[in-house]
């Protein structure tokens, strides 16, 4: 089952890569999902975001890059609805239809519980007809990401990379239409990072998942097809395709 999914994912990944290079992203977007208009956020004297204007379309993969303190996490928190802008406005035309799930930078996993128990927090009886359905989805994802053998381990007993994968699986199992991932690969090696991206790409194509991925590693995300937004000291410096950066 996992092999089948993996092959499927690779096919989707490569075909999408080709398609995107030839046709661009505008075809995917019919109406925007989020529109940030001249948004600014400050924490005391620190200006976390300064006059950022940005549009995120449905089904888009958007990478937010920048150094530490550039405002990536602030931007993500604002998209998640945890933070309100001091200045400017955020437009969400389909506010009720959006369900954004997050991969937090500090992961926010319950350390005293097992990996599986943490994953079950994503089980929503409104989305899954049966618990079995959820379990099947979960097993498929954990096999692909190689965490199946660690399901019964407590979170505090597994390594950082494993935790990050658990956090990602938990977010995907919530069946969101927007995934906000804050440094989801910071504890992973390059191969694992690519694998993780392949999973997200698969969900992006199959389930029209909009992915917003914040990373300080611009070289890594440049390899993936998607739009890049580069921030520096809270200011938006570049917005466009990775190959033009």
């Amino acid at each position: 089952m996992d092999l089948k999914l993996e092959v499927q994912m690779k096919d989707v990944f490569h075909s999408l890569n080709r398609n995107r290079k030839s046709s661009g992203f505008k075809d995917l977007a019919s109406q925007y999902l989020y529109h940030l208009d001249d948004v600014s956020v400050s924490f005391g004297n620190i200006k976390a975001l300064q006059s950022v204007t940005l549009t995120i379309n449905p089904g888009e993969i958007l990478f937010i890059t920048g150094k530490s303190g550039a405002g990536k996490s602030t931007l993500l928190n604002m998209l998640a609805g945890d933070l309100r802008p001091d200045k400017g406005r955020i437009f969400l035309p389909d506010r009720n239809k959006i369900f954004a799930s997050q991969v937090f930078q500090d992961l926010k996993l319950l350390s005293e519980q097992t990996c599986e128990q943490n994953l079950w927090y994503a089980y929503d009886d409104k989305l899954y007809k049966t618990k079995n359905e959820f379990h099947e989805d979960m097993m498929e994802l954990v096999k692909v990401l190689g965490i199946k053998n660690f399901l019964s381990n407590r979170m505090c007993d597994v390594n950082g990379g494993m935790k990050q994968k658990v956090a990602l699986v938990r977010s995907l199992l919530a069946r969101p239409n927007v995934l906000l991932a804050d440094e989801p690969t910071c504890s992973l090696d390059k191969d694992s990072s690519v694998k993780l991206f392949e999973v997200l790409n698969f969900y992006n194509v199959k389930r029209k998942l909009t992915v917003v991925w914040a990373s300080h590693n611009r070289d890594l995300v440049k390899q993936f097809p998607g739009k890049i937004v580069h921030l520096e000291n809270g200011k938006l410096i570049y917005s466009g395709h990775a190959c033009f950066i």
Partner: protein, 264 residues
């Protein structure tokens, strides 16, 4: 049911705090439901009340156990206690200082056992005499020395005595104590509860999870407490409604105004 399950998870991961919370809710319900019983149990009048009694010295040739068995069956006898020889000798030693060694010395050389017979409250003098006569017949006058019947002693407290005032309002203090204890426990549980609720809200399409978890948990504990008290012949009164209102208010007081955040 979902929220109750989540509360049980919270309960397990914060066992001591949750147990104290459970105890305080149970205590709160009980102190309201069993108000009369508490007043009766902790009443100073009853605590200081003593039943009339008399002591008797019985020769050790007589079987004390058999005397005790027979005496306890007698109407008007509340309790029969046999004192050991050690305490008797101590008492004789004490008397020797007051009365001189000659008389007491003779008594000490004899082997006696002390028996204390407690009579029923409000027993008539005639009946007291009948009990004493029965004992004399049982033991035999030569082997028995009886003391006078001592009447119950009551400590008279002034109306404004601090102890009396405290006991008078004990039920109120108990309710206040359990209310504060429950509130303190909820306050300390807010952080782990919010963390758990934050995760649920972020990954499931649910809202106000912290409030619902806490409310379902508190309501369950209160319900169990009410049922247990009801089984113990308590009645549902107006004060019970106030307790229910307080239990409903607790999650609101601590969670209503706060934005749900995850704190490490």
């Amino acid at each position: 049911m979902f929220y109750l399950k989540e509360f049980s998870k919270l309960f397990k991961s914060n066992l001591i705090l949750s147990l104290i919370l459970g105890f305080s809710i149970f205590g709160l319900v009980t102190s309201v439901q069993q108000k009369e019983l508490i007043k009766q149990e902790f009443s100073l009048n009853q605590k200081t009340k003593m039943v009339p009694y008399f002591n008797a010295l019985i020769s050790n040739k007589v079987s004390l156990e058999s005397i005790q068995r027979k005496m306890i069956k007698l109407p008007g006898v509340f309790q029969v206690n046999i004192d050991d020889n050690k305490s008797l000798k101590e008492e004789l030693g004490h008397l020797e200082k007051n009365f001189g060694s000659e008389i007491i010395g003779e008594l000490s050389s004899l082997n006696y056992n002390k028996i204390k017979i407690q009579l029923e409250e409000g027993i008539h003098n005639k009946n007291q005499e009948l009990v004493r006569e029965y004992l004399a017949r049982l033991v035999g006058k030569d082997s028995l020395t009886m003391g006078a019947v001592k009447l119950p002693q009551n400590i008279k407290l002034k109306d404004d005595d601090a102890l009396l005032v405290f006991v008078k309002y004990l039920d109120v203090y108990l309710v206040l104590f359990f209310m504060v204890l429950a509130a303190l426990c909820v306050f300390l549980l807010v952080k782990p509860l919010n963390n758990q609720a934050y995760i649920i809200e972020k990954f499931q399409r649910k809202s106000r999870v912290n409030m619902k978890i806490l409310f379902s948990g508190l309501f369950s504990i209160a319900s169990i407490s009410f049922i247990l008290n009801y089984l113990y012949r308590a009645e549902f009164n107006l004060s019970s409604l106030a307790v229910v209102a307080y239990v409903i208010m607790l999650p609101m007081i601590f969670l209503m105004t706060r934005k749900l955040t995850y704190k490490v």
